[in-house]
Amino acid sequence: MYGYVRPVKDELKVAEFDRFQSVYCGLCHELARRYGFFSRFLVNYDFTFLAMLLAERGEGRTCPRRCAAHPLRRRSCLESSASLAMAADMSVILGWWKLADGAADSAGMARLGCKAACAALRGAYKKAAAARPAFAASVEEQLEALHALEQAECPSVDEAADKFALILRAVAAEEKGPRGRILGELLYHLGRIIYILDAVDDLAEDTAAGRYNPLCYRFSVSDGKLSDEDARTLRAGLQLSRNALAGAFELLESGDYAGILSNTIYLGLPVAAQAVFAGVWKANAKIHRKRS
C-alpha cells in the first residue's frame, strides 16, 4: 500500500531475513492462488508485516517455489496459512480502494492506469469482500467518512488519521480477548503513523495539485513544506504514537517473527520517518524498486 512498514534489512539476522523473504513470497503466492495472477502486483511490505503480526505460533512451514519474478531459482515460500489468507484478503480490499481513489484523484495517464487496474481487480475485490464482509464494510464506511472530511477541509490531522487508523484496527476485529485489544491498539497507531507519513510525503504534490492534505490546514505550509518547528511538533506526535504501538507490541505473544517485527517497529519506522521528513522517501523507493 505505502511501504513505510518494513524492517531495516542490514540489522536483520540472516535467518530472519530469509524468513521475512519467505513471508513476502508466501503472501505473493497466496494472492495468486486466491485472486489470480494480476492481484500479485498488490503484494507489499505493509501487508507482509500484517501477515507476520497475525501469525500464530508454529505456522512457519516453508517450501521452495518458483514464480514469474524468480523463474530460475526456487525461493523459500511460506505455506498457506490463516494469517496469510487474511493478509491477502485485506491487500485486495484496501488495494482496490486505493486504486479507485487514485482514479478519482489523478488525471491523464495515471487516471487511465488506475481505472484499468481497478477494472482488472474488480472480480478479486468482490471475492475478497465476500470473504471478509465486516472488514470490507468498515473500510467503505471509514473511507466515506474520510472523503467527507476532505470535502469539509478538516484541519485536524488526528481526525483524518483516525479514519484510516480505524480501518487498520478493523483488521483485528476478529481477534478476541486481550490479544484483540492489543492488536487493535497496535494497528490503530500503525494506521495513524502510515496516514501521517503519507500526508507529509504527498504534501508538495498535493499543494501543487490543489488536493486536500490535512497538514495544509493544520500548519502554515509554504512551498509545499512544513516549517522546522511544525515538523518537530508533528514528529513528537509520531513518536508518541510509535511508543503506544511499541507498548502494545511488547504485550503481544509474537512468536516466530518477534525479531523481524521488533526491527520494523524500533528501526524500520524511524528510518522511514527520517526519509519522509527529509523529502527523499519517494526517490529512495524508486532506487529500491530498481535494485530488487
Partner: protein, 216 residues
C-alpha cells in the same frame, strides 16, 4: 502460577546474575511509566506483577542470595508527566473531578460529552480535553490542548509537565539492541544518556537520581 523461570525466560540453571539481568530487562519493558494513561495499562501491570512474583519466588527459593531486593517496586509516581491522580486539590470543581474519574476509568465518550457541555473553557478544561485526546491516541490535538492549558495557567506544574512530556516524545522502552526514535536527530537519546550519566555520578557519591534504573 507459571514456572517462574519461564516467566523470566531463563533456564533454572541460570546464575543469580543472569536471573537478575533477565528480570531487569523485563521490568524495564513493562514498567508502568511506559504505559501511563495507556488503554493497555492493566495488561502491562498484570505482566509486571507476574514478573515480580517470579523473581521473588526464585530469589526466595535460592535463599543464600542475601535477600536480593528487586529494585523495581510496583506502582509509580515518579514519571515526568503526572497523570490524572495528581493535582485534584487545585480546583475544587466537582464536575472536573468527575471528568477526571471518567478519564481514569477509560470512559472517554462520556468525559468528552461532559467537557463539551461546559460553556466556559478555562485552563483545566483544556488540560482535560488534552487528556481525553491523549487516551484516544489523538496525539497532535492532545499537544495543542496541553499547550493552551499551560499558556493560560503557566504556574500549574501538571500542565507544564504534560507539555514537556509531549514535546520530548514521551517515554518508552527501547530494546537493548538499540532502536531509534521518530524525531530525527537524537535529542531524546542524548537526554536519556545525560540522565543516566548523571545518575551514575550520583550513585558514585552515594545518592540515586533514577531509583528505577539504578537499582541496588
Amino acid at each position: 502460577m507459571n514456572d517462574p523461570y519461564s516467566v523470566l525466560g531463563v533456564a533454572p540453571s541460570a546464575s543469580d546474575e543472569e536471573v537478575k539481568r533477565a528480570y531487569r530487562d523485563l521490568a524495564r519493558k513493562y514498567h508502568p511509566d511506559n504505559y501511563h494513561d495507556n488503554p493497555l495499562a492493566d495488561l502491562a501491570s498484570e505482566k509486571m506483577k507476574e514478573i515480580n512474583e517470579a523473581y521473588d519466588t526464585i530469589t526466595k527459593s535460592r535463599e543464600q542470595g542475601g535477600g536480593a531486593s528487586r529494585g523495581y517496586s510496583y506502582g509509580y509516581g515518579g514519571g515526568a508527566y503526572q497523570s490524572q491522580s495528581a493535582g485534584q486539590g487545585q480546583r475544587a470543581n466537582s464536575q472536573y473531578i468527575q471528568i477526571r474519574n471518567l478519564i481514569n476509568a477509560n470512559n472517554l465518550a462520556q468525559a468528552e460529552a461532559m467537557l463539551n457541555a461546559i460553556g466556559t473553557h478555562d485552563a483545566e478544561w483544556y488540560y482535560l480535553m488534552g487528556s481525553v485526546c491523549w487516551r484516544k491516541g489523538w496525539m497532535d490535538q492532545a499537544g495543542q490542548y496541553f499547550r493552551t492549558a499551560a499558556t493560560m495557567d503557566p504556574s500549574n506544574v501538571e500542565y507544564r509537565n504534560a507539555v514537556q512530556y509531549m514535546n520530548q516524545g514521551g517515554q518508552a522502552y527501547r530494546p537493548a539492541s538499540g532502536g531509534m526514535d521518530m524525531m530525527g536527530g537524537d535529542a531524546a537519546c542524548n537526554m536519556c544518556q545525560n540522565l543516566i550519566c548523571a545518575d551514575c555520578c550520583c550513585e558514585m557519591m552515594g545518592g540515586n537520581l533514577i531509583p528505577c534504573i539504578g537499582c541496588r
